[in-house]
Amino acid sequence: MYEHDVIVVGGGGAGLRAAIAAHEAGADVAIVTKLHPVRSHTGAAEGGINAALREGDDWELHAYDTMKGSDYLGDAPAIETLAKDAPKDTITLEHWGMPFSREEDGTVSQRPFGGLSFPRTTYAGAETGHHLLHTLYEQVVKRGVQVYDEWFVMNLAVTDEPDPNDRTCHGVVAYDVQTGKIQGFKANKGVILATGGPGQAFDHTTNAVSCTGDGPAMAYRAGVPLEDMEFIQFHPTSLPSTGVLISEGVRGEGGILYNNEGERFMFEHGYANNAGELASRDVVSRAELTEVNEGRGVKDEYVHLDMRHLGADRILDRLENILHLAEDFEGVDGLVEPMPVKPGQHYAMGGIETDENGETCIGGLYAAGECACVSVHGGNRLGGNALPELIVFGKRAGYHAAGKDLGEAQIETGYAEGVEEEGDIDLPIEPGEAGIEPATGDAVADGSGQVADADAAVERAVEAERERVDHLMDKDDGVQHAEIRAKLQKAMTADVNVFRTEEGIKRALKVIRECREEYQDVYVDDPSRTFNTDLQQTYETRNLIDVAETIALGALVRKEFRGAHWRYEKQERDDENWLKHTMISWNGGKPSVWYRPVILEGEDKTYEPKIRSY
């Protein structure tokens, strides 16, 4: 058994930042990641980091834009924390050597992004995430933080009190991908989940194949509620063939969207008469799909994004990476022709419920980054707000887990008094259960009252995973994960996409249920313990099933149109009934849905919901 003060699961931006902070606060910290840190998906982020750095801008404006962008579903204490910490945390990156793009006077450049009232997006070309990731990894190397790379975390070791709020996380179980060895990792102070997004629940996504929602699935099964899972951001400009992301920076620099009739549809069809292409992502995604659905799409599939008029110099200076992506993945030269783009799954606004210090309702369990929901993004994340979220809340989770006092959190976590329980959801199927576990019991937190002490919790979790792996490997025949995963992805893209109907969501839930049932018969064909990606993906597929179910359930119960969540049956925002977070808890082997009110009261002011127009 390995032992550290703080165990960070995931080596992307949030995980690395958390590890640096925990180390600074004096903790013995280790990162356990299924990839090598520099392979993490943070590296694919392109656009930039929002931070109020300049005169004429301030954190309050950033907070206001973010609250408006969230469609009033963000919690003010989280949003204000983001806006206040972002400038300092961004400049910290600059001090660590991050090669930001620069102004004539040598200061960090900023550019306009969708939904921002000031050009406050700092950036490094169109490859900001790459530089952020590498800069953070350099600092991890500098500090000598232990990294267990290519170790796949299979489960959390959590004590099993009946009430999740009383449980404690003592560590994780992971296996060394190179050797297949399964080991316990005991965390004396805390476990921080920083596992990124669940984009692989969809088959057209900008996300890496490693983005399988492992953190949310594990936390959920251990008893932490998942929050606002229905809010999935679809990025308006992904390449049609692969889902590769074309940065919002293209529109920030002046890129224009055209339909097949050469119309600048954002204006000509009245989708956003002021902001045009720079309206927020949900608005632009719907506009594009409407164009395609009404017969004005190119090849009935996509629209054109044109940046030729910006000129080669500006494109090469600020968007060079985009030229390479369009060339390599679509065979299009962005200097001489427009690029084909369509909406693709991009970001999960929802995730593991945490407070602004990164804590969940389970003692010693933290989450940060895309896998977490603080919530700063609410119904819709503004471009350039994901990277500040990583550094701000990664840092806070690291500090807090290491024992640094950050003051009392204002956001409550866990099932609490005064929440409203959903009584009668009309479901086409019984969600959850269906013997998702082929071998042994579920997470350690099964309420059986067996385990209290830390070593025993970790050992028992290790034992359970060893049995589960033996079962999967010993089984000779059955269903393969790839088949189940493809079926799940297809159903989610067909029916839980930009436009959603009750009928469609129910259809998706039925398919998810089928996937659960088929998963009971899953087996691993590769008999080798050496670098068994078959086994790893079998685990990941199970995580995707759980996460996809919460996304679809959230989408089904929220009968309104807010942010990225559009419902055919009710095409308008319903503040009277829905200024609340959708919470889904795993109770006794199945999901239960409940709600928590949104916190619109900030430190000095209350954010009044307004019509969101751009």
Binding site: E127, L325, F329
Partner: protein, 295 residues
């Protein structure tokens, strides 16, 4: 075990190694643009990709697993993959894995040329599988692990030595002094950022290290990737002269920059178009200029 030797499909047709003094006549950016235009022209000229529609690509994939009896002796497996326009080598091996043999093992993640996981030896050249179009290759397509690296299984190689070399150059900002408080920026001129820009694009895929004959023969040679990483720091004006000297001292050691014989193979295979060889030459010049001893 060590893998197969380099077998270039055809001799490299790159222009002759640039004389370091020639630098500045054509910037790396101009060169890349030129190459991009050439690539596009070549693609136009080549058979229209749509003619390949409906075809089946034969891919021959290297297999090895130390644990599985019939894979202990390295071999090639053949997979027939239905071709679709725009299909990459990564798409093809994924198809083979998901459809025919789930034990086929390789690293991959972002599939957009930034995570650096899927550098393989494809038709005799180190390339990223995700950004290599099948239509740009001659068929059948042969996919092997990176040469000169230990093979863990199938296309997966041991990266430990590569990471050690990357870490050996102390690749991190060392200065702890903050300029006038936490909110004041250090300032960097646009020119200086431009100078380090290409070196900062490295995705640690190890294609360059695998293609380097010197690295193959000298296990201690820092190698092109690590030296390029050090270049980024040594040339960044934000760090003091003292640190620059410290970095040059690391680089001019016996197994550092002087080992490079300007064969340009690293520059040739780099999927991010980093002018690695030029960077190494520039560091040699810097080391001489600083009057440091050399080997």
């Amino acid at each position: 075990m060590s893998t197969q030797q380099q077998e270039p499909e055809q001799p490299d047709t790159q222009e002759a190694p640039a004389d370091p003094e020639m630098k500045g006549e054509e910037s790396p950016q101009q060169k890349r643009l030129k190459r991009k235009e050439e690539d596009a022209a070549a693609r136009e000229k080549a058979a229209d990709a749509s003619e390949l529609e409906g075809e089946t690509v034969l891919i021959k994939v290297f297999r090895y697993d130390p644990e599985v009896a019939d894979k202990q002796e390295p071999r090639f497996d053949e997979f027939h993959v239905p071709y679709e326009k725009g299909m990459t080598v990564l798409d093809a091996v994924m198809y083979a894995r998901d459809t025919y043999d789930s034990s086929l093992t390789f690293r991959h993640s972002c599939r957009q040329a930034v995570c650096g996981s899927d550098a393989f030896f494809i038709n005799g050249k180190q390339r990223l599988a995700c950004k290599t179009q099948l239509s740009d290759l001659s068929w059948p397509v042969r996919v092997e692990p990176l040469p000169h690296q230990e093979v863990v299984k199938d296309l997966v190689v041991d990266m430990e030595h590569f990471y050690e070399q990357m870490h050996a150059v102390e690749p991190y900002f060392q200065s702890e002094d903050l300029p006038g408080g936490e909110l004041e920026e250090q300032r960097q001129s646009r020119e200086n950022r431009e100078k380090i820009k290409m070196s900062s694009r490295c995705i640690w895929c190890a294609a360059c290290m695998s293609s380097c004959n010197i690295a193959a023969g000298d296990n201690q040679y820092l190698g092109p990737a690590a030296i390029n990483k050090a270049y980024k720091f040594a040339m960044d004006d934000r760090e003091e002269a003292e640190l620059k000297e410290h970095r040059l001292r690391i680089l001019e050691q016996e197994h550092g920059v002087w080992r490079c014989q300007t064969q340009f193979s690293c520059t040739e295979v780099c999927p991010k178009d980093i002018p690695l060889t030029e960077h190494i030459q520039e560091l040699k010049r810097e080391a001489v200029k600083k009057n440091l001893k050399f080997w």
